[in-house]
């Protein structure tokens, strides 16, 4: 059972888009390790022939019809109302350099 290293913590933080300081990485690592290590207790269970359960509802094929629902649509003002910065109807973010 490998412990979580600070390198792992830094990598996970970057995947999770969490800006952490060096100090935070140092503090969080043993804390994460203690909880994660505890959870490995489940390896005591025999899950070889067991199916995963992703959903407990038992529901299937829940759809909506292809219709426009104006009752939920926002005006431009409503859509932008909580944003930190807007410009001519757009949300503004720092310039994104890398394309996706």
């Amino acid at each position: 059972m490998s412990a979580i290293s600070t390198k792992t913590t830094a990598h996970i933080a970057s995947l999770a888009n969490l800006p952490l300081s060096e100090k935070e990485i140092q503090t969080l690592t043993p804390q994460l390790d203690s909880v994660v290590s505890y959870t490995t207790k489940t390896s005591q269970l025999n899950t070889d022939a067991v199916e995963e359960t992703a959903q407990v509802t038992g529901l299937e094929n829940i759809f909506r019809e292809d219709e426009v629902d104006t009752s939920r649509m926002f005006s431009q003002e409503e859509a932008l109302a909580n944003a930190r910065q807007t410009h001519k109807g757009f949300f503004v973010v720092p310039a994104v350099l890398e394309e996706r």
């Binding site: 995947l15 829940i62 410009h87 949300f91």
Partner: protein, 442 residues
Amino acid sequence: MTFTPIIGIETHVELKTKSKMFCGCVNDPFNAPKPNIYTCPVCLGLPGALPVANKKAVEWTIKIGLALGCKIALFSKFDRKHYFYPDLPKGYQISQYDQPLCYEGRVKTEYGEVRITRVHLEEDTGKLLHQEVDGERKSLVDFNRSSVPLVEIVTEPDIHSAEHAKAFTKKIHQIIRYLDVSDADMEKGSMRLEANISVQTEEEKASNMLPSYKVEVKNLNSFRYIERAIHHEVARQSQIREKGEVPHQETRGWNDAKNQTFTQRSKESAEDYRYFPDPDLPPMRFTTVYIEAIRESLPILPDALVEKWTSAGVKPQDALILADDPKMVDVINHLLNHTDIDIAKIASQIVNKRILVDFSKNDVHQVVEKLLVDSKALSQTTAIDEAMLVKTIQEVFDENPKAVADYKSGKKQVIGFLMGMVKRKLGNIDTALLITKIDELI
């Protein structure tokens, strides 16, 4: 050294459903007069919002899969694909991971078959623009397109030339338009293409090994770009491999003005999307009855159509051209119902634009009637007074002494020119009569 291009194509098609994939917002991002006017809690990713899947989008994805010869999964689900980007409101895209709706299909092209790995359904992202705001470089985000239904079609790396790639993408484009599930307009962004390109050495080919890397090329907004970009990229990669090096695994864009690809994003390490089944969306289970009903509803597809028409007598090259226009399909099929017409001739007349098909009429029967009238008019000959004919032929002889001399000296084909000159003056005269008379008088 010879290198074999190994190419796979990824196509994204925006479905033209009325509403978005997981909410009831208007699905019309391209024509929206303003940004951020077609949003709601769901497609804006507000706290507490939940998705509900658009039934029609699922049906149309299955339709596309069937049209591409795919198997349809009897059990399927949506998964969350995680990455951070400002145009992705939830920080994850609802997509499909290991149980896509359609898989293992095939598409025929004149350069060979291309296997379809999978066809799956996901939601589109918002749109990003880059602009200066108050003197600072910023990016602007518009969520009108967020959560529009998007179908992703992925091929095996079965394509080995730029021409093959172009033919394949044209085929996909044609089929999608036949199904009438998307405008598939590359300029407007309702059909987007990416190519995964690598070049295989002779040794790799001999041992049936694919290269260890691949380069993804994006921004291929037209069939022409695809061809040029692939040519360029294959050359670029071959140069690198000639030196014994391996090209970087990365994403490149195509710059048509400069005729080159350029680095967009390094893909040294594969992205970790941390897929898991979306807990907010119950899975889907289909019966074979349901799937067969969708199969029944498929229109006759381009290949089958071309075959049907050529069997009825249409020239193959005319059939291919006519089949490319979904509007024309109904017209030609209706023409085929008339047994007493020369379908090959009429088809050619349409292709050569000697008859113009008037689509302004709503009823296909009216369109066909007018078409037949126009065709007949082309073949109709004008009744002519014998004296008038003789006089006109003489006029033409006088106006064209060289042609007459040529004809007399043995260049018999000049009669075509002389006939044309007479017809110009008199209209459409019976050809046989005209030939006889000219021959007589000359």
